[in-house]
């Protein structure tokens, strides 16, 4: 079966010469939920932007359900790859929630009843239907993050990429978002350094450090490997027992 996302030997340097990725390779199968773990500056966001062609690799290639990421089919790539950015204020820019959710599918050419159905379904998936007519800046932070997820879901992506989905959320919003994410039937790549959240949501994890993948395996096993975590500047929160993880 074609993987939902395949990254092969991707290397990338920014125009200022800073090399951010050194030959990254991995594949994510359809329906998988994978966490991408790594400290700040590991190249996680750079890698994410390779996946929808905002940045194009200097070497190597990225394919999304068989379609290579290249300038000639960026539109289709951006439909297939939905990125939820870290700050919902960056993502939500239309006057109302419904219009914002409609922005993506409308760019794909959807109009009228079809567009409306998409918007409704996406808002329903994140439990925000009753806020459709409100301006985004009148919502709480947790609600805005959920709407940000809906804006991408409305494009019916093949793979959903969440960039630090738990950042700045209070515990209740964090749990609500986790419930939404586990309820979605879509391939997910979750970029985070919130290790318990990765464990809760993603059976598999990739560890990234200094622009390369340093580990790939079941999340519980990786998080129980104290040496691996230390070598990659990752740390479990205080009181979190790695031995208990193995038992899971």
């Amino acid at each position: 079966m074609t993987p939902a996302l395949e990254v092969e030997g991707v290397a990338f340097a920014y125009p200022d010469g800073h090399q951010a990725l050194f030959g990254v390779s991995f594949a994510i199968q359809r329906g998988e939920r994978v966490a991408l773990l790594g400290p700040n500056g590991a190249g996680k966001t750079t890698l994410v932007l390779q996946c929808n062609g905002v940045l194009l690799p200097g070497a190597g290639r990225v394919t999304v359900t068989g379609l290579p990421v290249a300038t000639e089919h960026l539109k289709e790539i951006r439909r297939r790859v939905g990125i939820v950015f870290q700050d919902p204020d960056d993502q939500l820019f239309m006057p109302t929630v419904a219009e914002d959710v409609a922005f993506g599918p409308a760019n794909l050419g959807l109009r009228g009843a079809e567009l409306e159905t998409r918007v409704k379904a996406a808002l329903a998936a994140v439990g925000m239907e009753e806020h459709a007519g409100r301006p985004p800046h009148h919502l709480s932070f947790g609600q805005r993050r959920r709407v940000a997820v809906a804006t991408v879901l409305a494009m019916e992506p093949d793979i959903l990429i969440l960039d630090e989905p738990s950042s700045n959320l209070d515990p209740a919003s964090r749990r609500e978002l986790a419930e939404i994410v586990t309820g979605l039937e879509v391939t997910i790549l979750m970029v985070t350094h919130d290790l318990p959240y990765a464990l809760q949501l993603c059976p598999r994890a990739l560890v990234m450090n200094r622009g390369a993948i340093t580990a790939d395996g079941p999340t519980a096993e990786l998080l129980a490997d104290a040496e691996l975590l230390a070598a990659n500047r990752l740390e479990l929160p205080f009181g979190f027992d790695p031995a208990a993880l193995r038992a899971r």
């Binding site: 905002v54 539109k75 204020d89 820019f93 006057p95 109302t96 219009e99 760019n107 301006p135 494009m155």
Partner: protein, 255 residues
């Protein structure tokens, strides 16, 4: 942060005025203002009629007249300018309560006060009965260049975000003992403004990135057709038509 408050000028409601198409309301108020401005300043009765008509429209829109009066405060700085005219004006003078004033200046001041107040009142009624998002769509329907409407939309959307940022920066400054009282202490404020500019610029880039990631290719999609029917236009144009008639009559009966 950010939750709760509605747009400050909008009064939620379901009156006929609230339900009217935004483009009709904008066009009607603009034409009304044009008719008011074109009215000769000597025709006091005409301005009285305009005021009564506006009060009627406000009642239809369930906008309390006291609220409307409070919102007129925004024109005070302009009125201040008008107040000077009778004192600095040249030419024939009359004594008002023992103070000599220029006749031309008095007429000029009256002209500004009357027409300005009517104009501000008309826009205040539109603003009180139309959410900002609809105003933007109305402007788009009136063929205002899309780019301008888009920019205005972003400005409205991000004004709160940036104001929040300003507030946080100010609190962070005063929390470190900054207590600006004199102009030479303005350096920190100026530096904050610079930082704010850079941050907003970077946010602009991130917003663009998020737009591109959702398939943006240079044009905002038109989501729904908010066309107005002929009946809606006719209803909306009643007020400016009446105003035009009054203005024409005022010119006709002018001595």
């Amino acid at each position: 942060m950010g939750a709760g408050h509605a747009h400050p000028l909008y009064l939620p409601g379901t009156s006929p005025l609230h339900r009217a198409r935004p483009q009709c309301k904008i066009a009607a108020s603009l034409l009304f203002v044009l008719a008011v401005v074109a009215t000769p300043r000597e025709a006091f009765w005409a301005f009285g009629l305009y005021a009564v008509a506006l009060a009627g429209v406000a009642t239809v829109g369930r906008v309390p007249l006291t609220l409307l009066a409070r919102r007129l405060v925004i024109e005070l700085p302009f009125l201040l300018f008008a107040v000077f005219l009778p004192f600095v004006g040249q030419g024939e003078r009359v004594e008002v309560l023992g103070v000599p004033m220029a006749v031309g200046g008095l007429w000029g001041a009256w002209n500004i006060v009357a027409k300005g107040t009517l104009g501000v009142a008309a826009s205040a009624i539109v603003a009180a009965t139309t959410p900002v998002a609809e105003l933007l769509r109305g402007l788009e329907r009136l063929r205002l260049p899309k780019l301008l409407v888009t920019i205005a939309g972003f400005m409205v959307r991000y004004a709160d975000v940036i104001a929040d940022e300003v507030r946080r920066m100010r609190i962070a400054r005063i929390s470190r003992g900054h207590d600006p009282r004199w102009i030479w202490q303005a350096r920190a404020v100026a530096a904050s403004a610079g930082t704010l500019f850079i941050r907003s610029y970077e946010r602009g880039e991130r917003v663009y990135l998020a737009m591109v990631s959702r398939g943006y290719a240079g044009a905002m999609p038109v989501l729904e057709d908010l066309g107005a029917t002929r009946a809606q236009w006719l209803a909306a144009l009643c007020l400016p038509a009446m105003a035009a008639l009054v203005a024409a009559t005022a010119w006709g009966v002018r001595p």
